[in-house]
Symmetry: C2
Subunit: 208 residues, 2 copies
């Protein structure tokens, strides 16, 4: 199923933007694939939340609205904080968290904000991995695709991701010293703030 992968790519690169209609016929031709095959890909993407299908009216690239954002952050707070609280002292995912933050710091040197966004997503993927659950990992990938859509609607990645690198480091150090409760509290504040910033960006979007 590489048609689905191609469409994912076009969406994440901004070639297809939220709200764009994606008619079967045209897209099938442009992908060099038959309509039937494309429809199977649509089923996949629809379940991933990347596109929204309306019966008899086709599909559009999903538009994450404010309710989406609120819900995604509610889920993340519940799961990430609990994962951190119950984290084992030397869990391998902690190393991944550190690696993600260090990568982000390098990207900041070079001002590569898009790479920072990627590193941030990797950081929280590692947080989910603390829970040692394949199903939760899969859930995170779904949430992450929805977040990437939302981030894409807001042009200012620096504003969006800058405030969090130092906080990430603090969380890691609390975790490594075994203070999981404090790490979770820190993370909870982090997520509330991130949600607020994202929602604020949205607010301006709807006005403009």
């Amino acid at each position: 199923m590489e048609a689905a992968a191609e469409i994912r790519g076009r969406i994440s690169q901004g070639e297809l933007r939220p709200g764009d209609r994606v008619p079967e016929a045209k897209l099938a031709e442009s992908l060099g694939v038959s309509r039937n095959t494309l429809r199977e890909a649509f089923r996949t993407l629809s379940q991933e939340g990347l596109i929204t299908q309306v019966p008899n009216r086709g599909a559009i690239v999903a538009i994450p609205n404010i309710n989406t954002i609120i819900d995604v952050y509610r889920v993340r707070q519940l799961i990430e904080c609990q994962a951190v609280t119950e984290a084992l002292p030397k869990h391998p995912a902690i190393a991944k968290m550190r690696a993600a933050v260090e990568a982000a710091l390098e990207h900041r040197e070079r001002g590569d904000w898009s790479a920072i966004a990627g590193a941030n997503i990797a950081f929280h993927r590692a947080v989910f991995e603390l829970a040692d659950s394949p199903r939760l990992n899969r859930l995170y990938e779904q949430l992450a695709t929805e977040l990437r859509l939302a981030f894409g609607l807001i042009d200012d990645p620096e504003y969006l991701h800058a405030p969090f690198l130092e906080r990430n480091l603090a969380i890691i150090e609390l975790l490594e010293s075994g203070e999981t409760e404090r790490a979770a509290a820190q993370l909870k504040g982090y997520l509330s703030l991130a949600e607020r910033i994202l929602l604020a960006g949205y607010e301006r979007l709807e006005l403009g």
Copy 2:
């Protein structure tokens, strides 16, 4: 997409059992639907976890193995306990929990164990609803389908569901009196026990 619904029904009624192969051609004919349409339904069911697709080798009704069970209960413990801990005092879902338990008690009078299983699933659906998150609710539906598959492999529903009605009542009362921490602790014990019973049933299955 009613083909998918039909297949779901056949699986939940035991007409199709875990491990059964589901060849496209035969099933398409027996559903009076074309192969292409059926393949779209397969994509949906596959993402729901009801069938497993292997490239070029077709699909089988998913077989929940021990890792599946362990992971499902890990997820449930993390989410349900946290949902209970953070539950608001008079959350509407609490009423649903009570309704589910009362229905289960009536079913027990009549010895209708299959209905009790359904009521139990409804009880935990209500627990998930405490978190007020559409995405978590959707996650629960996925977990529930996997559990139904697992339950279906074990013939003794009384053994599986009997021990839990009184515990459910206790959890509700702790919740209503605002003792969310104790309710969560109770629920945690409940889930560990349920997992153990289910795994024990599996053990015997693999031997027999």
